[in-house]
Amino acid sequence: MCDTGCAGNAGRPNMAPVYPKAGRYPDYARLVDRNRAQVDRRVFVDEGVYQAELQQIFARSWLFLAHESQIPNPGDFIRTSMGEDDVIVVRQRDRTVRAFLNSCPHRGNRVCMVDAGSKARGFICNYHGWSFGIDGGLRGTDGKVYEKDETFEKAQIGLTPVAQVDSYKGLIFGTFDPNAPSLLEFFGPFTFYLDIMLDNDEGGTEFIGGAIKSEIDCNWKFPAENFVGDILHAFWTHQSGAQAILGGGVDLGKRYDELAFQASVYGHGIETNLDKVGNTRTLGYPELVDYVFDLSERARDRLGDLRSRAIGAISSCTIFPNFSFLPGQNTFRVWHPRGPGKIELVVWTLVNKNAPDHIKELYRKGVMMTFSPGGVFEMDDGENWEYSTRVNQGFVTRQQPLHYALGLQSADLDRDLPGHIHKGSLNDANQRLFYTRWAEFMEHDNWTDLQNGETAPPQKTASAAE
């Protein structure tokens, strides 16, 4: 405090934002053994690994923040998390979106206590009444006591901005890393697959209001890897839900061998069977199946044959690290880490803006009936992920490797689709690439290495897929 001469007077604080630097954790990176297709269980329970994840992955990756439709007007805001960091996402007067750490620079208290709100003029800390504009700047303090102090540098003080915020076709993402590549570079050619859900019709998409939030005592990577490429579990885990809704088991469609594949870019992954309506059918409303059949026909010009078949197909997707969705079922979700052994799950429903109201209503109810805590599918997921995590408290148990070796010889070098393509959706390929990406984040302290490793997309174009 005495670096300015120290004649009884303290120096002035430097309140510039601090964006943490990445490090290198090669020992942690080696916990993923690519050559043996196995993963060391310590990645799911070790506190040191978890803290490294917050630094290496969650402080650097582009993370999902909100859908544009949730904050349409200036001053509209929602509160969310980036990793364990509490964040406010707010629409500015110029209609851009900015995001800030939800923490007062004075004593650290939250300045926003609510989940969401509309047309806010700013945020006021309950502790000492420091108030901030929706641009994050300090507007004033209670009683103007600070303002009367001549050394007080109000203009230097504000909520810490999320370093970069950008959106892709309605979905807003942010990163704490000023040096991170653009959102489009972070996705790479994976946008080809995102468009299946985000751009299958005129007019764009929106979230239905509200969000279902729940806690699961599991490591965040188990649900993320589940959505990145584990359709296999659906047959066993979700047999009861499928029986209840469909009166039969999960069906991958007649042309599985010919059509189904997994695709991965930078750890983002999708698995799909191109069976047109397999996922939509499980929502239980025949009107939705008709809607998706029509949509699929209409989307042929927009997306081409292959992607138009994927809109409602049996499929799932994760954007690295922790944002997932199910095409056809339209559930979008974030698995927020809350320690190595806990997540907060937040779930929304996405619909096309131009869909008829009764279709939107059926999606709302369909997601509720299937992929919410009381839904007939999600009901049976949580306990699997909890015990997959918890058993590793056993010292000897966590020395035992986990097996990720389905489909080792399944690389599809002929199919001209973006990313690493593997034949068949019943495959661990995307999960291996998800953990390879995880290891790249542990290994590298710079984006040049991060964007040019094993998970980077092979050089080819998507044109032949059409």
């Binding site: 206590m113 609510v114 989940d115 969401a116 709100g117 509309s118 239905i208 209001g209 509200g210 969000a211 279902i212 939030k213 729940s214 806690e215 699961i216 005592d217 066993w236 885990t237 047999q239 009861s240 839900g241 029986q243 209840a244 809704i245 239980g284 907060e344 779930v347 929304w348 429903t349 209503e361 709302r364 109810k365 509720m368 009936m369 919410s372 805590p373 009381g374 007939v376 999600e378 009901m379 049976d380 949580g382 306990e383 699997n384 909890e386």
Partner: protein, 185 residues
């Protein structure tokens, strides 16, 4: 439609308490209902307690400023339950599958019902019933989930006894502090 049956609308003031005999009968009905749920006799619950015109709603609860006109919940947005008979029946079918793993091994359930207030309405066959509940689920060795909430029920008196026609369930949790909801309230 009576406001009373509009799932999006709260009860008006509950200022018409019924006679003791009716209150006793409906209290007994509420206790018997949750005994079926505790015993996982879901099909019987559906056929004995639930009216075919049931509306069963449990919204997600949000934290909002007091001056936010939206309030803590809004009909038509995200919900845990927003069911008609058809949706309730699907949920019950899942419970009855041997591969409903979240219920196999069996969960130990307890519903405690209290603060029961029974009120007459402008329709002599309909009763507006407010109650609160504590729901405890425990399974495996030490997995425990507790949910507290209140319910606004409309019961219809018919030849076969009372049936649940409308239920609004409001839990006190914002983030559900459980991995699932393998029960009814």
């Amino acid at each position: 439609m009576l406001d009373l049956l509009d799932i999006s609308k709260p009860f008006a003031d509950l200022d018409a308490p019924v006679d003791l005999e009716t209150e006793r009968a409906i209290t007994r009905w509420l206790h018997a209902e949750v005994r079926l749920l505790d015993a996982e006799r879901y099909q019987e619950w559906l056929t004995r307690c639930i009216d075919p015109d049931i509306r069963y709603w449990m919204p997600d609860m949000e934290t909002r400023r007091r001056d936010d006109p939206r309030g803590m919940f809004a009909y038509g947005e995200a919900a845990y339950f927003d069911d008609s008979w058809k949706e309730l029946e699907i949920r019950v079918k899942r419970y009855n599958e041997p591969s409903a793993w979240a219920d196999n091994p069996q969960t130990r359930h307890l519903h405690q019902i209290s603060n029961i207030e029974v009120n007459a309405t402008e329709d002599p066959t309909l009763f507006a019933v407010h109650s609160v509940f504590t729901n405890v689920r425990n399974r495996n060795e030490a997995d425990q989930d507790i949910v507290h909430g209140r319910r606004e029920d409309v019961l219809r008196a018919g030849p076969g006894g009372y049936r649940l026609l409308r239920r609004r369930v409001f839990i006190v949790q914002n983030v559900l502090l459980s991995k699932n909801l393998n029960t009814f309230f």
